[in-house]
C-alpha cells in the first residue's frame, strides 16, 4: 500500500540518518598544546651539529630527571614551567654540571574544547650560570617567542 511504503521509507531513512550521524570524528585533542623549548647542539667555533654522547637533564628545584640519554643526542626538548615565569634545568655531560635559567612571559591561549588552554612563551631569556668549568661554551637565542614545536629556539655550542 502507498502509506505502508511511505512509512517504510521514513523508518529506514531515520535509521540511516541515525547510523550516519554516529560516524563522527572522535572529539580528542589534535595535538595543539603548549610548545616545548627546542635545543640543538653544535660544535663550538663551528656550524656543524655535534651530538652529545651522554646527556642527563634535571629540572630545578624538583630534581626530576627530564632526560637520561645514552645515544647520540642532537636535539633536546624541554617543557618549560607554565605555573611561573621562570624555570631552571641542569644539563649534565659526563661529570660536568651546567645550570641554565630561563625567564619568559606567558600568554594563555584557548585552543578547543578537547585541547583546553595552552601557553605561548614570549620575551625568552637564557642565563648560563658560570662556574669553573662550563661544558657549554656558547648559547644562541634564535627567537624570543616560543609558539611552535617545529623550529629550534636555542643553539648550544659545546
Amino acid at each position: 500500500m502507498k502509506k505502508n511504503q511511505i512509512q517504510l521509507i521514513l523508518s529506514i531513512s531515520i535509521l540511516a540518518i541515525l547510523g550516519i550521524s554516529a560516524c563522527r570524528k572522535d572529539d580528542i585533542c589534535n595535538g595543539d598544546a603548549t610548545p616545548d623549548l627546542k635545543i640543538k647542539f653544535f660544535a663550538y667555533n663551528d656550524t656543524i651539529e655535534k651530538s652529545m654522547d651522554t646527556l642527563f637533564v634535571i629540572a630545578l628545584p624538583l630534581q626530576d630527571t627530564v632526560i637520561n640519554g645514552n645515544q647520540n643526542i642532537t636535539d633536546l626538548s624541554l617543557a618549560l614551567n607554565v605555573n611561573e615565569d621562570a624555570c631552571g634545568f641542569v644539563l649534565i655531560s659526563g661529570q660536568n654540571n651546567d645550570t641554565l635559567l630561563f625567564h619568559y612571559s606567558r600568554e594563555k591561549v584557548f585552543v578547543s574544547k578537547s585541547c583546553g588552554y595552552k601557553v605561548n612563551f614570549h620575551n625568552l631569556n637564557v642565563d648560563l650560570q658560570q662556574d669553573n668549568d662550563n661544558w657549554i661554551k656558547q648559547i644562541d637565542l634564535l627567537t624570543t617567542d616560543i609558539v611552535t614545536d617545529s623550529v629550534t629556539h636555542i643553539n648550544i655550542y659545546h
Partner: protein, 255 residues
C-alpha cells in the same frame, strides 16, 4: 558504563510493557513469533483500516488528546552527575495521527575533565510535529511516532578552573582558578526523532525517544567555544550533529 546500563534498563521498561500487552491478547508463547506478528501486523492493520472506508465509526469525532510529560530519565541522571535538569513537554493530538509537541527545559550542568571545570546554565524550548505510525488495537492507546523538532537554547558558562595542556610536562600544570563568565550564548538546532509511548495505568504513559540533532547555529565566544548546550548535549568540535535519548512519563488530560 553505568550510563549504558541505565539506558538499557530505561529503554527496556516501556518496550517490555508494550510487548506484554501484545502477549496477553495473542496466545502465542514463542517470543520470536510475536515479533514477526508485530511487524506483519503493522503493515496489515493499515490495509484493514483502508478497507473500512467511509464507515460510521470513522465519522465519530476524535476528542483532542492533550498530554503533559516530564523527562524522568534526565532528571534522575542529573542527580548522579552533580547537575540539575528538568524537561517538560505538552503533546496535542490535533488531527488524526498528527501531534503538535512543545517542550521546554532548564539545565545546570557541571563539567569536570582534566582540562576544564565549568558550569553550564541555561534553558531551551522545542517546537515540533510528529506522526503516529502505530495502529492501536481496540481501546489501547500506545504510539510509535516519528517527528521533527526545532529547538532554541540560551545558556551561560561559568569557568571555575582550568589546567594548561602540556604533554610531557615536568613542572605539572596546576589548576588555575578563574571564575570567568561567558554569558548570553545561544544555539538553534533541528531534531529528527522517533518515539514510543505506552499507556501503563489509565491515562499514564511511559515512553522513550531517540533523536538525531543538527546544530543550525551557535553563537561564537571570544577565547572560548560552545561546548555543552542544554538540550543538545556536548557539541563535538568537528561535527554539527548530535544524538539524544529521552525517557519520559506523561499524563493525559481528559476533557
Amino acid at each position: 558504563m553505568i550510563f549504558l546500563y541505565y539506558q538499557i534498563i530505561m529503554v527496556s521498561i516501556p518496550t517490555y510493557l508494550f510487548l506484554y500487552t501484545k502477549i496477553v491478547k495473542i496466545r502465542f508463547k514463542k517470543f520470536l513469533l510475536i515479533i514477526t506478528m508485530l511487524i506483519s501486523m503493522h503493515f496489515s492493520a493499515q490495509q484493514k483500516k483502508d478497507s473500512i472506508g467511509t464507515d460510521s465509526i470513522a465519522r465519530i469525532k476524535q476528542p483532542v488528546k492533550i498530554r503533559l510529560g516530564f523527562d524522568a530519565g534526565k532528571y534522575i541522571w542529573a542527580k548522579f552527575q552533580n547537575s540539575f535538569s528538568y524537561d517538560f513537554f505538552i503533546d496535542v493530538n490535533f488531527y488524526k495521527d498528527y501531534y503538535l509537541i512543545v517542550s521546554g527545559g532548564y539545565e545546570k550542568h557541571f563539567t569536570d575533565n582534566n582540562l576544564l571545570n565549568y558550569h553550564t546554565t541555561g534553558s531551551y524550548y522545542k517546537f515540533g510535529v510528529m506522526y503516529n505510525l502505530y495502529r492501536n488495537w481496540l481501546d489501547m492507546d500506545n504510539d510509535i511516532c516519528i517527528g521533527i523538532n526545532y529547538a532554541y537554547a540560551r545558556f551561560d558558562y561559568l569557568l571555575h578552573t582550568y589546567r594548561i595542556n602540556q604533554p610531557g610536562a615536568v613542572f605539572t600544570p596546576a589548576p588555575v582558578s578563574v571564575e570567568q563568565d561567558f554569558d548570553n550564548n545561544s544555539a538553534q538546532w533541528l531534531e529528527l526523532f522517533a518515539q514510543m509511548q505506552v499507556e501503563t495505568f489509565k491515562h499514564l504513559y511511559l515512553g522513550y525517544n531517540v533523536g538525531v540533532k543538527y546544530l543550525v547555529h551557535n553563537s561564537e565566544i571570544e577565547n572560548f567555544t560552545v561546548t555543552y548546550i542544554p538540550g543538545f548535549f556536548y557539541k563535538n568540535t568537528y561535527s554539527r550533529f548530535g544524538f539524544g535519548m529521552q525517557y519520559f512519563i506523561s499524563y493525559r488530560i481528559k476533557f
